[in-house]
């Protein structure tokens, strides 16, 4: 009650537009759960969550370090170490009040210090120092006032950067410009805290092993033996220990993990496994195995086939000829409508290929605005409603393209299409796509040339180097706003350089898509208008066939004892890497039970989203 008056004053100053802070969670009681065991092939190189950018390494941070906010299993943002927050009317200043009594714990489970607001300042000071080579610092420094200037060395006083403490438990961020989705960014590694004293003590050793970091989250890493195993145990001093049910997470390294995992699961040695596409038939035809299998959830990684507008491939594939045809919209549209995406998807998802197909770049249910899914907004609604595969339209656009390009381009057009030869799904899909497109459009029109490459530096030698005509690409979101899916196609991206397409340059010398996205980014007050502007930009990209939306990631089938829909759910960031809230069941769930659980989860989520939308008005 002591702080009611200043809080009231603050509320008078900072008007609506602040997200409603969640009520303090009632104390939960941990439910019984078996330990979680798994095998993995991708080893951690570092536990330093302030610098790493890889998902595997961020899993340690997701389970060992809490940030200001988190998501519940329905995808509703709620308080974590921040008990409340406010945002100023101009959207530039965010104030967070911390939960008191949260402790930093050593790997042995001993208390080291209390978590305080200064820890967030120290973390950013560390990651904003280029010498520390943080791969994720840009997400924070591009958002905070003077962050980019400090990183680039234009200013040297960190005090000018938009992060400071008002008192021991109050943290203030000042943004460079209003960011409507700023709260959602706080779930990412870039905004996690660190104890500055400990950081100074261990110096360059920070994060080199489990003993050289501190923990304030649900788990502590008790064992870290690279290329052998790692073990995380429940932090018994965790502030929300009642919601942590699995007491031990055991990871055993094996380079052939994807091959061995199904065998180990059947022997009861691990808690779950993905079912490789090549083995799926065997599992589905065996009643005993089928009873253990259910579909895996899809992710928000977006897959699409990109046309390259800045070709740099070998002369034998005639890049100059490609450059002529790719700038013809009818040529692109002929391929856009000719691609049978379902046939391609069967190579990866033989039992339910439609589940992963996506007609848009931004996946469905990624964001909603006033209860409406983003992909139902503006011109995207029509795109979502139809399948792009249309033989009649494909051939019609082909005829138009031939007429327009007569005498200008050589046919068949050579189209090198790289793929990773170590991935059997992708190898098969490359053959399917080649045969299907050439079969429909004719080998006298296009000559698709699948080119296999090894995994090592695949993207470096293909997509980033422009050594492709058409390529299957993907992109994952960084925050909960449609803007995140524009990054690959905005100038400066390394995907397909649509800004180099001819015929789309506007009066200001910039491309139409760039101008549309810039206008959308500038809208930070009216979120519905903002979403509509992004929807128009995305629809333009798709309707002009700069690329062909293909699928979302994830999917496939799993056999697992992890109870579904208990993990913190969010379409980006680290939430899905968390084990907080999860339960290891006695036996795996079959597809029928999973479908029931999924339907209930969807209903609960819709209700929760509506409730959250109502409470912020």
């Amino acid at each position: 009650m002591k702080k009611v008056l200043p809080v009231l004053l603050l509320c008078a100053l900072f008007l609506a537009g602040c997200a409603a802070p969640q009520a303090t969670q009632t104390a939960a009681t941990a439910r019984p759960s078996a330990d979680f065991k798994t095998v993995y092939a991708g080893e951690l190189t570092t536990l330093n969550y302030l610098v790493t950018g890889t998902t595997v390494e961020q899993e340690v941070a997701a389970n060992g370090i809490d940030g200001l906010i988190e998501y519940d299993n329905l995808g509703i943002l709620k308080s974590s170490l921040a008990s409340s927050w406010e945002v100023s009317k101009d959207g530039l200043t965010w104030i967070f009040r911390l939960r008191k009594g949260v402790k930093w714990i050593t790997w042995e489970g001993k208390e080291y210090a209390e978590v305080v607001a200064q820890d967030w300042v120290d973390a950013l000071k560390y990651s904003f120092n280029p010498k520390n080579a943080s791969k994720t610092a840009n997400i924070a420094y591009e958002a905070l006032k003077n962050g980019a200037k400090y990183y680039k060395g234009e200013i040297t006083d960190f005090g000018q950067v938009g992060v400071k403490t008002s008192d021991k438990y109050t943290l203030q961020y000042t943004l460079e410009k209003p960011i409507p989705y700023f709260l959602t960014m706080l779930s990412y590694v870039s905004f996690l805290p660190v104890n500055g004293k400990f950081l100074n003590e261990v110096g360059a050793k920070f994060g080199t092993d489990n003993k050289n970091i501190l923990y304030n989250g649900a788990y502590i890493m008790s064992v870290f033996e690279p290329q052998n195993m790692r073990v995380l145990v429940k932090n018994e001093k965790y502030w929300d220990a009642g919601n942590v049910h699995i007491k031990k997470l055991e990871y055993k390294y094996n380079k052939e993990a994807s091959t061995l995992a199904p065998v180990l699961f059947l022997r009861g040695d691990i808690s779950g496994t993905g079912i490789p596409t090549a083995s799926l038939d065997e599992w589905m035809k065996d009643p005993a195995k089928k009873a253990m299998v259910h579909p895996a959830t899809t992710s928000f990684y977006s897959y699409f086939y990109a046309f390259n507008f800045d070709p740099k491939f070998d002369a034998q594939y005639e890049p100059d000829n490609w450059k002529i045809v790719v700038n013809n919209a009818n040529f692109r549209k002929s391929i856009f409508y000719a691609l049978d995406r379902k046939a391609a998807m069967i190579t990866a998802e033989p039992y339910a290929p439609e589940r992963r197909l996506s007609n848009t770049i931004t996946p469905k249910t990624f964001v909603t605005n006033a209860g409406k899914d983003y992909t139902e907004m503006g011109p995207l609604a029509a795109i979502v409603a139809r399948d792009s595969f249309n033989k009649t339209q494909a051939l019609a656009f082909k005829d138009k393209a031939l007429a327009e390009l007569k005498g200008k381009a050589k046919f068949p057009v050579k189209m090198p299409m790289p793929y990773r030869s170590d991935l059997s799904d992708w190898s098969n899909r490359a053959q399917v796509v080649e045969q299907q497109l050439e079969g429909l459009l004719g080998k006298d029109f296009i000559d698709i040339i699948p080119v296999g490459y090894p995994a090592t530096n695949f993207l470096g030698v293909t997509r980033r180097s422009g050594v492709y005509a058409i390529q299957e690409c993907n992109w994952g979101p960084d925050y909960a706003d449609p803007e995140t899916y524009t990054d690959p196609f905005f100038p400066g991206g390394t995907y397909n350089w649509p800004e180099k397409a001819t015929g789309y340059i506007e009066a200001n010398g910039k491309g139409k898509y760039e101008n549309m996205v810039t206008a959308a980014k500038a809208e930070v007050v009216d979120m519905t208008k903002r979403s509509n502007l992004f929807a128009e930009a995305e629809a333009f990209l798709i309707n002009e066939a700069f690329l062909i939306p293909y699928a979302v990631g994830g999917g496939g089938y799993v056999a697992t004892k992890l109870e579904p829909f208990t993990y913190p759910y969010a379409p980006f960031g680290m939430s899905e890497l968390k084990f907080k809230g999860q339960i290891v069941m006695d036996k795996p769930m079959d597809s029928a039970a999973y479908d029931v659980a999924y339907k209930k989860w969807q209903q609960d989520r819709v209700a929760a989203l509506q409730k959250a939308a109502t409470s912020t008005k």
Binding site: V39, K131, A133, N138, T494
Partner: protein, 314 residues
Amino acid sequence: MVKYALRRLWQSLVTVLIVLTLVFLLMRLLPIEGYFADNYDKMTPEQREAVLDSMGLLDPWYVQLQRFYGDLLRGDLGTSVVYRPNVAISEIIAIKIPYSVRFGLAAIVISLVSGLAMGVRQARDKGRLWDKTWTGYIVFINAVPPAVYLLFIQLYVTQITRLPILYRRDNPVSWILPAISMSLGGIAGYAMWMRRYMVDELNKDYIRLAKAKGMSNKAIMVKHVMRNAFVPMAQYLPTSVLLTISGSIYIESLYSIPGMGGLLVDAIQRQDNPLVQALVLIFSTLGIFGLFLGDVLMAVFDPRIKLEKQGGSR
């Protein structure tokens, strides 16, 4: 002998320097995207530069080379920059070497004892059932890719025998299958060469003389044939022992043994230049030293072999 050793030492040093410098330069020809794992697209140009700077890669190549040799002269193998950033390479290797050496030595002992015994028996029973059966084993091991039969052993032998499928330090029973798997190729190799060299020796005149003098077959085999047949094989024994440090790429990855196997491949793929250079230094030094020891061992076994040129007509 001393002159020979000094000359070999000098040659070895020059060889190692050439190899190291070549590898150093080749690593710096690799594309820079390899230093960023999956993050390249999401990083700003300033961040990419900061990462490269932190690895010392923005300096001219001759400055980097000078720094590398300077550290080496001080006994510093350097720090990993990608594989395990900020961890001393000596620390990484010190953890892994004991695993590889233990399994490697166990495999060598099993291979030598079993392989030599098999080869001797084959030579003695040349053309009979035993010889033909083990020849079949040797052909199988040499013809079938190890990846196939090793995975088969791991999956099906563990099922039948209930042996653990993965290595665990605290479970000695889990050490058995990896050690045996590692020795299978060696058994076939030692048996094959032992048989071959013994058969060659058995056809020589001095053996006929020994038989004519009334020596028993057993005495001929043990005192003459085996010893002479072993001489050419002795040359490679020191290298095999020393290079147990390099581990077995496939076995260690199959059974989750945290040894040295695959470390060099991993380091190259991740473009961890200091780690690659340190490993090349270690492996090339051990390989060269092993060859030297092999030559010495041959001279010990066979007094006719001289390591240095003698005066005279030849």
